[in-house]
Symmetry: C2
């Protein structure tokens, strides 16, 4: 039976043209972009071409403001720790939201171990941050604000432009974790007005382990990786050129196909949400009904456990996730779901369904059909459910 | 005319079998190793198989002691900053040598900006560290010793076992930057007795931008990348699986072919050094005559500039380097050459010639022939040389 992948968030399949670009790069056997001879020149050119493609994707006017990283996590760690450590003499206070990705949360936790202080603003029932709350949280000694562009568990978009207006007025660097947005929906660093923006190639059908950080000129931060003078002196280490070339190809395709992809995903999302509501009782659809990612649906299915659903669906060759793969090994309930008001039990019964260009309406229909059976089976075994009845 | 690559250090060409393994990985379109479903399982298996291959290469008994990184630079930064920050409450003093790679030097410089202190021990005329000097440099508050396995500019090997005996007795974590050794010559973490050891895939015909850090169980360090629970909670971020699979294939080939490769390189090295001495007057061969890498020759050619030689050789399709590609953008004279007693002028006239499995004796002969002409041309234009005459 055909495998239905509804866990695109964990790993987008590589686009055929990304595969071809990477295979061509492998066969070309590039040299080191830093070498002062012909092999170096050729590699350097390929590197800068990818940088231009990625810059276009986020409407970054100067490609040299893009630093390639080993993925979203490194970009986020670089932005947060880099600014904090470079600015520590000015102040040690950081403002964030309480629904950030683990890469943000744990970078901040690390900084707290180094005597930084963090204020985390809450969100409403849809997971939206109120820019006014960010403004109120800012202190004299605030040196960084970090809020995500879209949430990786519930898809809600944040009012980044409004927050940026506040941080620019107060001259505080603003980092935006846009890993789940870049390449999926339009992201324009100029319009947004952010100083730093993190992204990852795999969210737009590029390879895993490759990402980037936009650093607006003039933003002061320490590199996370010290060593050679690569990446404009902001990220040492010989580049993963094959992966970067793959990201460049993925960025070009994303620019070209974004509208079609969004239209396709919106149609699937509507069908999925309607089907969930029609087929299964006692559920919540999490996240904002309009201001959210087109390729993600989060559903809390009461009285049962998400882990059990994932395993039973897997046996039917349907792949979904309970939350981000990064957090799959962690056993606590999702801080995002708790933040929007779900209780512990409902948070445990949550599925994150993500899809993309290869997903068909038939895939959604089959998922709904199998899910209905699985939920019935699990609820029949659930003491909570039987008590409720 | 055939291009002769004598700059293997900057970028080893990918082995055909590494290319095939990576292309197969691209076409397989792996999922995320952290996903709790079949796509995740398959990816996880591929990841752990590569880890086992890499573990075998450095005689690491427990593959989980290997953490995959985005290259040697990240491994080195993780080891040095990770141990220093985790141990800062115990002490803030670090011992190193004065011929380390920039990734080590600049990580330490960063730590000095955070109130750590560094003692740097000198080397002899061959670039060898005296273990007794390391012992004398160690203080009550020393929390880390970091000394490289082999030098990337002159090839000299260090007495790592002897230094490790000292650090183990004093219970101080010992990091060894073995980037230019692993996969080139035998490296056995058990015999060496180090606690941390950094390496990079590209030094053994694997892809650039992929590396690893051996962390002996029980060694306490903070991850450089915080976020998800990947890599045994020691390095967050979705893995560059395609690159890691390439490193795994490269490690297997290195284990299998190491003896042959060393024999081949030694023959070339002897021929090259003999040719240099016979063909060009007023030169120094840098580094230890026996205790050094088989695939590297450093030669200081007096009265002329290395940069000029590189450019003129490049026009003849012969690729060499003046020093590591990582430092190519930096204009200072090599700290390594100054440390072994070369003066500024001689340091500037130095070539680093590195070679490997595809290099032939004919390549070496042609290089010698062209170099002789180039040196003559440049010396004819050199006021220093004419004055000397």
């Amino acid at each position: 039976m055909k495998t239905i992948n509804l866990d695109y968030l964990s790993a987008n399949p590589l686009l055929p043209e990304v595969q071809e670009a990477m295979i061509k790069a492998i066969r070309t056997n590039y040299g080191n972009p830093s070498s002062p001879h012909q092999l170096g020149d050729q590699a350097h050119e390929a590197l800068e071409q990818a940088r231009e493609s990625v810059a276009r994707l986020i409407h970054c006017p100067k490609p040299q403001e893009i630093v390639f990283t080993s993925g979203g996590t490194e970009a986020i760690n670089t932005a947060i720790k880099g600014v904090a450590l470079a600015q520590a003499k000015k102040g040690r206070h950081i403002v964030t939201s309480n629904i950030e990705h683990n890469a943000v949360l744990r970078s901040l936790r690390r900084l707290r171990m180094m005597d930084f202080q963090v204020t985390s603003v809450g969100v409403d029932e849809y997971g939206r941050v109120d820019p006014e709350e960010v403004a109120r949280a800012i202190r004299e000694d605030t040196i960084l604000v970090t809020v995500m562009h879209s949430n990786n568990e519930i898809g809600t978009l944040q009012p980044i432009e409004e927050i940026a207006r506040i941080t620019r007025e107060k001259k505080i660097p603003f980092h935006c974790d846009a890993v789940t947005s870049v390449g999926v929906i339009p992201v324009d660093v100029q319009k947004l007005g952010v100083d730093l923006l993190s992204f990852s190639a795999n969210q737009f059908y590029g390879p895993s382990g490759v990402g980037g950080l936009y650093i607006r000129s003039g933003t002061v931060l320490w590199p996370l990786l010290d060593g050679g003078v690569q990446e404009n002196n902001k990220r040492a280490g010989t580049e993963n050129l094959i992966g970067i070339i793959g990201m460049g190809a993925a960025a070009e395709a994303a620019v070209r196909d974004m509208e079609d992809r969004i239209r396709h995903c919106r149609r699937l999302k509507e069908r999925l949400i309607r089907g969930l509501k029609e087929n299964i009782e006692d559920i919540f659809i999490n996240g904002h009904p309009e201001l959210s990612l087109p390729n993600l649906v989060s559903v809390s299915i009461r009285y049962i456990e998400g882990e059990g659903i994932v395993l039973m669906l897997d046996e039917e060759n349907i792949l979904v996730s309970t939350r981000s793969a990064c957090a799959a090994g962690a056993l606590q309930a999702s801080h995002v779901l708790l933040a929007i008001g779900r209780d512990f039990a409902d948070a445990q019964g949550t599925l994150v369904i993500t899809f993309g260009r290869e997903t068909s309406e038939a895939d959604i229909d089959r998922f709904l059909e199998v899910l209905k059976k699985v939920v019935r089976t699990l609820r029949d075994m659930s003491p909570l459910y039987n008590k409720k009845k």
